[in-house]
């Protein structure tokens, strides 16, 4: 059995319920949000630790440390929620890869969630009990370590998944099956450094500028906010060139294996240079923060495409492509998903606007327009249940 045949055999016989390349797009797009939020969590966590250790929690650093500690659990919460979406899509279209990686690394895959839970709850402990004055600092440190470990596991899972030629050998080294799933079979350090610590600094930098922009509107301490934005810009400026260089290192270490050296190198170096130029020319980091956020998300989107291209290149070596992944249009679930998307987007939009407006001013008011949106969105959410029950009755009594 060749590797290509094996991959084809491993696909689920049910096929995908929708056009696979569309699901691939969803995979890439939702992953951008995922990695943005988890790197923000790592970055803010590191900042709060730095503020309370190296800077002894004094002056402006105290404020920064508190703010960062408050952001960590919320960013992480969003990182997890947005991680679920790519998790759905990756196993729909890349099931052979995802399932092989998760069984070969079974122990860590199962332990992963306890690691994340530990990191998450410790981040909360530090925010609620320690961030006022930097007590319980060990909770913050342990939390950061656990979150990083979680990222490492994610990275190993992905690295294992794109190397199908080695699965058998990892499963049965010298002919003896290993069902423990404890070994970290594959990794690439430059890639990990690129995706986690460096992106964590960049996400953090952008979030600092953004916080400065947002809090300024409600009239918080301007000298602090000015300092915060300037610091963010400096960090971004220092790290951007490193980011490009590390991208190059990723390309030359992982690229040759998949014949993808230029494919990785050119876009990543270009992104590094573009970011450097952007932050160099950025003179009013607080005022321009929304734009910077957009620029950074666009850069991450570029990275996400490169990541996907590496996977595609790896599989192409065995003549395996998504283009011939079996699928059929499963109209029932497409309809349910479509309707829920409309309702979901409306409600989530309303919730975000409420959060945004309520905290954007000292007294906190929600505009009439948003209120009207809320009425409609809540009504739609209620009506969704009517739709759901109708679908159910139809499927139970009519559809055979």
């Amino acid at each position: 059995m060749t590797v290509g045949e094996m991959l084809k055999l491993m696909r689920d016989p049910l096929g995908a319920p929708f056009y696979p390349p569309a699901l691939q797009v969803l995979l890439v797009v939702t992953w951008v949000l995922h990695i943005f939020f988890v790197t923000t969590a790592l970055g803010t966590s590191a900042l709060s630790i730095f503020a309370f250790t190296a800077k002894k929690g004094a002056g402006l650093w105290l404020q920064a440390g508190r703010l960062a500690a408050r952001l960590t659990p919320n960013a992480l919460g969003l990182g997890i929620v947005t991680g679920i979406a790519p998790l759905l899509f990756v196993q729909t279209i890349y099931d052979p890869l995802w399932y092989a990686a998760n069984t070969l690394t079974g122990f860590w895959s199962a332990l992963f969630i306890f690691v994340v839970m530990g990191g998450y709850s410790l981040a909360y402990v530090f925010y609620l009990k320690g961030s006022r004055d930097g007590r319980l600092l060990f909770t913050a440190i342990l939390s950061l370590i656990l979150l990083f470990l979680a990222g490492w596991v994610m990275h190993v899972l992905h690295a294992v998944s794109i190397r199908p030629e080695q699965w058998k050998q990892w499963y049965m080294p010298s002919g003896v099956i290993d069902t423990r799933g404890v070994t970290f079979h594959a990794y690439n350090i430059p890639r990990l450094v690129f995706l986690l610590p460096l992106q964590a600094v960049l996400s953090l930098a952008v979030v600092m500028m953004f916080a400065s922009w947002y809090l300024r509107k409600r009239g918080d301490d301007t000298s602090f906010l000015h300092w915060l934005a300037a610091l963010g810009r400096t960090m971004a400026l220092v790290v951007s060139p490193l980011y490009g260089l590390t991208g190059l290192a990723w390309a030359v270490t992982e690229g040759p294996e998949f014949g993808a050296t230029t494919l990785i190198a050119v876009p990543l170096v270009a992104i590094g240079i573009a970011l450097t130029i952007y932050f160099l020319r950025l003179k009013q980091p607080a005022i321009r923060a929304p734009l910077s956020l957009g620029v950074w998300l666009l850069a991450v989107f570029g990275v996400a495409i490169v990541r996907e291209a590496v996977r595609v290149a790896s599989l192409a070596r065995y003549g395996y492509t998504l283009a011939d992944y079996p699928y059929h249009f499963d109209w029932g679930s497409i309809l349910v998903f479509g309707v829920t998307t409309i309702v979901g987007v409306m409600v989530v939009l309303y919730l975000i606007l409420v959060l945004y407006q309520a905290n954007a001013s000292q007294e906190g008011t929600v505009s009439l327009r948003v209120e009207r949106l809320g009425k409609v969105a809540t009504g739609m959410l209620g009506a969704w249940f009517g739709f759901f029950v109708l679908m159910g009755l139809y499927s139970t009594f009519v559809l055979r």
Partner: protein
């Protein structure tokens, strides 16, 4: 089809069991708490009862941290653990229902952003706006629950899907409706304990404390009674006959039913006590109640999962992750039929051919350097490993006590099957048990499996080796 992860220390499915029981407790609590909070907040707005907000704030922070953090994460955890323990089972669900799951994801997003908005805007937005957030939380949570039930219940009762192959038929299956109502009712009992916990922590003089406790326990009692009724008159009758045959079998390990009955009874009494004497409630009592419910839920959810043995998807895929039936509507043919012809070894990507298996005398084969035993190991992993411990790796030894919860060696010993011959004969008839499938493979493969199991047994219980020797001498 995939590599097999047996687990480490404990069997992979036990990881899953623990994570899922926890998740069920917390997620149901969350949904019902959203409704209870909505109820209180409506009264607070209508009757201008400012004091109630003290309870709501406390409850919201607790939910934000505890329920949404741990509950939601445990949900992801179930996913990760099933993925490692039984990837093809989850694969079937994903490929049928990914867009339902995607829909659930929106509901979940609403829950998570909703609770953040709810908690952080208590005194910042108008009462009406905040009440709307409460509505959104209650509806969003119920949406999440309704969708996941369709996916879960499919595993036991795929219903018409087995003929039409249409995901809608699989989703709205014969146990979907009763299970939605069952869960919706029972979750109020869990939430009652939660509310008692939160309210009992409020300052003594807080005058609404007892009213909230009384309300909550009334909600809980009604939920409990309705839940039991739904189970008796609707859910249980909807179960397939074969599942009913599993209920009294040893597939459901002993203390399960007493645990569930005890849990129900204890919850009933506890809630009654809270209703009658709300002033006497303490936080530790509520915690105790939650712990008891955890055990009961553990038992109940395990039972629900075991009911479909020996299948992972009833009537479609066996626990060892092979399709054993055709699904003509989707052009799918049984995999087991072909494998029964060709034999197993070498015919699936991660079940090696005999010549790829090393016959070293390592620990994995208990020091026996015999190719047949090594082959048997590969088969034990593939055919028995998803339900039984087939090696020492999943037998945790704590302070000299061997905790082999699912050990195959133990079962063989209990059956008094001590030689490869006896085991081989037994394997021929193994499909006769309601909870096990027949062995799939050639005669030589079955023989190899028997050899491995014999070695495992003799290694685990040396006295059985003596017994086997005596028996062969006697003959």
């Amino acid at each position: 089809m995939y590599p097999f992860w047996e687990g480490l220390g404990i069997h992979s499915t036990l990881y899953l069991a623990v994570v899922s029981a926890f998740h069920v407790l917390v997620s149901h609590l969350t949904v019902a708490a959203a409704w209870f909070n909505l109820y209180l907040e409506r009264r607070a707005v209508k009757e201008r009862r400012e004091e109630l907000y003290a309870y709501l704030k406390r409850s919201a922070l607790g939910l934000l941290v505890f329920a949404y953090v741990f509950g939601a994460l445990a949900g992801v955890g179930i996913w990760q653990t099933t993925t490692s323990a039984n990837p093809r089972g989850i694969s079937t669900l994903i490929h049928n229902f990914v867009l339902f799951w995607g829909s659930e994801w929106y509901m979940f997003l609403i829950d998570v952003i909703g609770i953040i908005a709810y908690y952080y805007t208590f005194d910042r937005v108008s009462r009406q706006t905040h009440l709307r957030l409460a509505w959104i939380l209650a509806l969003g949570g119920t949406g999440t629950l309704s969708i996941i039930v369709g996916i879960l219940s499919f595993k036991l009762t795929p219903g018409l899907w087995l003929e039409t192959g249409n995901s809608l038929n699989g989703f709205f299956n014969p146990t979907f409706w009763p299970q939605v109502f069952l869960r919706f009712a029972f979750m109020f009992a869990i939430t009652a304990a939660w509310s008692v916990f939160v309210a009992a922590g409020l300052p003594k003089g807080y005058f609404d404390r007892e009213r909230i406790i009384r309300k909550a326990s009334a909600f809980g009692l009604v939920g409990l009674i309705v839940g039991v009724l739904v189970w008796l008159v609707w859910y249980e009758p909807a179960l397939p006959l074969r599942a009913k045959a599993i209920l009294p079998s040893p597939a459901i390990p002993q203390p399960t039913f007493p645990m569930i009955y005890f849990g129900l009874l204890a919850t009933f009494i506890g809630l009654l006590f809270a209703l009658i004497a709300p002033g006497r409630q303490r936080q530790f009592m509520a915690l105790g109640a939650l712990a008891i419910m955890f055990l009961a839920i553990f038992g109940a959810e395990r039972t629900r999962e075991v009911l479909r043995k020996p299948d992972i998807i009833f009537g479609y895929m066996s626990s060892n992750q092979l399709l054993f039936n055709d699904l003509p509507a989707r052009g799918i043919v049984s995999e087991e039929r072909a494998l029964a012809q060709t034999g197993m070894l070498g015919h699936l990507p991660f079940v090696p051919a005999p010549d790829a298996i090393a016959s070293t005398s390592g620990d994995m084969t208990f020091g026996i350097g015999d190719p047949e035993v090594s082959m048997g190991r590969a088969l034990a992993i593939q055919q028995c490993g998803s339900c039984h411990s087939v090696s020492d790796q999943t037998a945790l030894t704590i302070a000299g006590v061997r905790l082999d919860l699912r050990s195959q060696a133990f079962l063989l010993k209990r059956r008094n099957l001590v030689t490869a011959d006896q085991i081989d004969t037994y394997l021929k008839a193994i499909g006769g048990f309601p909870y096990m499938h027949p062995f799939v493979g050639s005669d030589a493969e079955r023989r190899a499996l028997a050899r491995y199991l014999e070695a495992f047994l003799h290694h685990t219980y040396p006295e059985t080796a003596e017994l086997a020797k005596m028996q062969s001498q006697a003959r």
